[in-house]
Homo-oligomer: 142 residues x 2
DNA sequence: TGGTGGTGGTTAGTTAGGCTAACTAATATA
DNA sequence: TATATTAGTTAGCCTAACTAACCACCACCA
C-alpha cells in the first residue's frame, strides 16, 4: 500500500494546486472591464462602507495609493464618497449599484469557471474538496 | 445528516481557501530579494530553458514584458541567454546556478511556511489535502 | 530564386499602481 | 490654549504592465 504523504510533500502539492487554480479563475477577471486593484477594492467594500484608511489596511497599501484608487472609482461611478458627520477628517467609500453589479459579475465569472470544472466530479470527490477547503481555512487562518 | 455540497458551494469555498493559502505563503517572498515577476519566471525556467515566447505564454504576459524581464534577469546574473542554432530569431533563457539557488530558497521559504502549519494535522487530514490537490490539478489542468 | 506572408523578439510610448516626503485640515490632549 | 496626533491629499518618482509599430528572420511557392 501507498506510504503516507509527509507534511512537506502535501505542502508542495497543495501549493502548486492553489497556484494553478487561481491562475485559471483569474483569467476571467479582464471581462469585468475594471482593473485588478479596483476589483479588489470593490470586494472589500462589499461588506459595507469603509474609510480610506480601512481600505488601505485591508489592501495592504499606503494612504496615497488609496486616495488615487478612490478618485478613480468615484470617477467611474463605482463608489460614492460620504463624509462622517462626527469627524470631518474621515471619508467613507460606499459601493454604488454599478460597482456592486460589477463585483457580482466578477465573482460569477470566477466561481462559474471553477464550478463548470467541478461538475464532472463524483460526490465523494466534491466532499474531499470541501473538506480540504475547511482544513486549509483553519490552518492558514492564523 | 449534512446535505451534500453543490459544485457551486465547493467552488466558492475552494476559491476562498486558495486565496488565503497563497496570501499566506507569498508573504515570505520578499526574503528572496527578487521581485515576484522574477521569481515566477525562474520557476518556469526550472523545468528547462524556454524561449521568450514560451515564457510569455506561461506567465500570461505580452512579449515586451518578457523582453524587459529577460534583460533584467540577465543583468542580475540569474539567467543566461542562448540562441537557437537552427532559427536565429529565437532566444532561450536558461536559469543560472545563482538563479536556481534563489528559486530553491524561495520555494523552501514558501513550502516551509505551509509545512509548519500542516504538521499539526492528523494523517487523515493530510490525506484529504493530498487527495484534494490531485483532484484540483486534474480539473484545472485544461 | 526572389518576393511575400507569418513568426519571434525589440523599441517607443502610455498607463496603472505602488512608494516616500511633505503638506492641510480637523481632532485630541497636556 | 498651545501642541501633538490623525485622516487624507498633493507632488514626484519608479516599476511593470500594455499597445502600436517595427526589424529580422524563416518558409513557401510561382
Amino acid at each position: 500500500m501507498a506510504r503516507n504523504a509527509t507534511p512537506r510533500e502535501v505542502a508542495d502539492r497543495l501549493h502548486s494546486a492553489a497556484i494553478h487554480l487561481l491562475r485559471r479563475v483569474r483569467s476571467t477577471d479582464v471581462q469585468t472591464g475594471v482593473t485588478p486593484a479596483q476589483l479588489s477594492a470593490l470586494s472589500v467594500l462589499m461588506s459595507g462602507p469603509k474609510t480610506l484608511g480601512q481600505l488601505a489596511a485591508a489592501e495592504q497599501v499606503r494612504p496615497p495609493t488609496v486616495t488615487r484608487l478612490a478618485r478613480e472609482l468615484e470617477r467611474l461611478g463605482l463608489v460614492r464618497r460620504e463624509s462622517d458627520k462626527d469627524d470631518a477628517r474621515v471619508a467613507r467609500l460606499r459601493s454604488s449599484a454599478k460597482g456592486s453589479a460589477i463585483l457580482r459579475r466578477g465573482r460569477e465569472l470566477r466561481i462559474g469557471e471553477l464550478e463548470r470544472r467541478l461538475r464532472a466530479l463524483s460526490g465523494a470527490e466534491l466532499r474531499t474538496l470541501d473538506d480540504a477547503a475547511a482544513i486549509i481555512e483553519r490552518v492558514v487562518g492564523e
